[in-house]
Chain length 133, copies 2
Amino acid sequence: MKDLEQDIRSCGLRVTKQRIAVYDWLRRHPVHPTADRIWSALLPDYPDLSLTTVYNTVNVLAAHGLIRTLNIRSEEQRFDGNPADHGHFSCRGCGAVLDFDIDVPRIASMLPQGCTAEKCDVFVTGLCTACAE
Amino acid sequence: MKDLEQDIRSCGLRVTKQRIAVYDWLRRHPVHPTADRIWSALLPDYPDLSLTTVYNTVNVLAAHGLIRTLNIRSEEQRFDGNPADHGHFSCRGCGAVLDFDIDVPRIASMLPQGCTAEKCDVFVTGLCTACAE
DNA sequence: GTTCCTGCAAAAGCTTTGCAGAAGA
DNA sequence: TCTTCTGCAAAGCTTTTGCAGGAAC
């Protein structure tokens, strides 16, 4: 928990219980939630937490690279507590989103000549093992 | 132009001048536009075209695999006249979106065990050659 | 004591829906 | 002729903004 505070503080941000709560939840639940989902999950423990603050918090955390924003589906924005480059596999059958490791240099080698990669997202849609049957 | 009609017809859809216009424009302008951008571009030639119809059309075309929807940025949905798997490079400097070829089998090999890839999107953010200076 | 953050309400922006009239097959 | 599509207006949703009170430092 102390390291979460440290992360936030080292970005020049103030440590508030709302920021700790959102950041901690996001890191412990790798479910790529929407802002609304984060808010609902925290509401029992933080009855005064507002959806506006969740939006504000995820935007601030993402701007400082502590979390990452995803656009898997068109309708809504999702957030990921793991800011490292990694792939997302979305199962068409059960709707689950699985993380997987990606070989960033290998993907960067596919880029147009002269372009440099700073952030890399890979989204694959298909069927997972269970749904393939 | 005839092949566009053919594409639309072969999906069991009716051929209308609006659908031809949107589909044709999208295929000839690989700029990954928003619905609004498509509408603005076509308005001079189709003064009666409504934004609702553009939305309806891109959704129908995408549902039948003739075009592809993208979620490069969070705010808005974009469309791509090329339905084949390919990567998108978004330049942080000039905002341009460049297509690049991807090696799908190579990426599929990074997937979790047992998962099968049906659609693959790769989004890379960074700096293009011109902006890198 | 300052500055920054939170939370409410309202606004903004994109996208969808309902429905009557028009167009395609 | 029958079914599908278009276009207008209005609604729906997610996300942002403005601002007063409150918390962090």
